[in-house]
Amino acid sequence: MSPKVTITHLSDLTPPSQERTWLTAPHPTLPIVATCSSDKTIRVYSLTNFTLLSTITGGHKRSVRTAAWKPHMTGESVLATGSFDATVGIWRRWDSYGQEEGAGLGMNSGEKQTPADTLTEAPNGTDTDTAGREEDEEEWRFAVLLDGHDSEVKSVSWSASGMLLATCSRDKSIWIWEDLDDGDNNFETVAVMQEHGGDVKCVSWHPSEECLASGSYDDTIRLWREDLDDWGQVACIKGHEGTVWFLDWEGEEAEGKWNGPISESVSESELSALQAQWRSQRALSGPRLLSCSDDRTVRVWRRQPKESQQTGALSSAATGIPSIIRPTGTDEVWEEDAVLPHAHELPVYAVAWNKRTGLVASTGADGRIAIYEERFVTLEQEQQADSDAMDTTSGDVLRTEWVLVGVQDGAHGIYEINHVAWAKRADRGSGGEEEVLVSTADDGSVKVWTVTR
């Protein structure tokens, strides 16, 4: 291992829950996160000063396992929560944390933040604010309870447009709900998919398309798309040898920001050539999928470009039995792109793909946080290291390798870590565009880390 990144503890989110926390969901635009706890509550913390802003209580009768923020909301935040009580809650709140906390987080622009304001926090302001907020109806409003699953809800995810909400459960089903956005909090059941042979542990939407990925206790990852008004499975990826605990997608390339593999051993011009080739390759296969499992591994999956599927589909072991009912045109072939370097001794519970930098973080029952970086494998390196490297790509595909670049042992002391996520850094120490890593553990603690290359 060549340690190339530094993982530094920035702060804890305080006060913590006294019970196990499962997951922390960063808000898409505001510097706030929602933490799900076994104490049946959801805690909303500020990433500006790392303190508790609100505790959402009263909606769930058992552990809150999962939460997701609806994207593209202006002026109001909408949070979906999934619980062991088999229900999904939808919560709403007018955006006003910024003004109240004096952090200058305007409703209109999440970017506008004056560092001076964060310093001048009223010492007694919080208590009076809480009292005032309730009267001003500025607290979290319970909007609707989505009832349908037969047992514990494990994961919820909003589609890129925010129109669709996917939920999954131990009852082996995935439900897709459409937010009718009719001002009356009505949701319509669009589809119920029951192909998984075991608990569905996680669902995650494609970053731009209406394509859903799910991971399960049956050790498979499945992909789902709508075809002529009917939602159906388009791929079944068999590769993991244990429960698939979590999934995340690669970020799509944003204007002028490179989030693909890096290289230190080539010249500027060679690098831009590699990047150009990488770009065209990614344009064909789309963003890759990242998964982690009870089998201790973290893997990356790539969709085979449509044109090469004609020949590949028959020989590939990555797909299930071809469907007779569905025309094969919608089926996708997903291949294992890489198995990341071994870093965990116990089940890996979460992975997070940094959409801006391309760095991958993983964590799990061994209490460790691992960071990986993808690098181009140049022709010379390839000749030196013979052929059997980490990567599995072949033929005309550009070769890359994943390198373990940082490990934090005992990140939450002796406790298991259940989740890790990248969030935009918002405290006063931040300079420009930068992410923090937010980790969530069994003892109720949530920690914020900086990861610097």
Partner: protein, 255 residues
């Protein structure tokens, strides 16, 4: 009063109690779950005498004993540090009777149950201590301890470092192999869960539990093992009143 919960074949997902940890919505007074012949009208209650006891085995029952004649070990012969016994010596007694000093039988000094909690934190925890924690759990269908039934035994307990490559890591993994009394015992999951819960409640958080069915001793061992290793399912099971009632009853006999 005895309640019998009856479900139709189509509602068989309710058999989660044994097939699936973490039953979500079972009434608290369930003692047996039956599938009914599909020809029966889908009523919700039947007189007990009309239930097809002989046709269909209940999926879960506290009333019927599956193995009515298990092999039982003598409690005094089980290895323990909690009370002074000559257990481990007894097998050598014939040869070493005169050679062994009689007085200090428990030279590792037995902790009294009062100070047990303090000792857990200070003294290193060994296999014997794990055994003492779990051997006194009762079998859910016999009023007999898991130690006496040889469902758990000292040689099937191991403690090892969780992260061998991190020498100063305090994490340790406790492996307990369970030997069900019969190979198709549907209560293996419940027994395994009881052992796991007992250890999680008694040991410091730096211990990771690895409770498994001993290889070759159960017809669906892999399935049971996957459930027992699933953190989410175990967590959900702990929030389930009906299941925890069973577990609590098993632990009544623990110190």
């Amino acid at each position: 009063m005895v309640h019998i919960y009856v479900c139709t074949t189509s509602a068989l997902r309710t058999r989660v109690l044994t097939e699936d940890l973490g039953l979500a919505r079972e009434p608290d007074n369930v003692i047996a779950i039956f599938p009914l012949p599909s020809s029966w009208p889908h009523l919700t209650t039947y007189p007990v005498t009309t239930l097809p006891w002989s046709l269909y085995p209940p999926y879960f029952t506290m009333a019927e004993i599956q193995n009515s004649n298990p092999t039982i070990l003598n409690a005094a012969d089980l290895p323990t540090r909690l009370r002074p016994t000559a257990t481990r010596k007894s097998e050598y007694a014939g040869i070493f009777t005169s050679a062994l000093p009689l007085a200090p039988v428990d030279f590792e000094s037995a902790p009294s149950s009062d100070s047990e909690d303090d000792n857990l934190l200070e003294e290193p925890i060994d296999e014997q201590e794990i055994y003492d924690l779990i051997s006194s759990i009762s079998d859910p269908e016999h009023p007999i301890s898991l130690g006496e039934l040889a469902v758990v035994s000292l040689p099937d307990i191991a403690i090892r470092p969780t992260l061998p490559d991190v020498p100063d890591s305090p994490l340790q993994t406790v492996t307990v192999l369970i030997t069900p009394t019969i190979t198709h015992c549907s209560l293996a999951t419940v027994i395994g869960l009881g052992v796991r819960v007992r250890l999680e409640q008694s040991l410091p958080s730096r211990f990771r539990m690895d409770v498994r069915i001993k290889e070759g001793t159960h017809s669906t061992g892999d399935e049971v093992n996957k459930q027992l290793a699933d953190k989410e399912r175990v967590a959900a099971a702990l929030e389930n009143g009906a299941l925890m009632g069973v577990i609590a009853k098993m632990m009544e006999t623990c110190h």
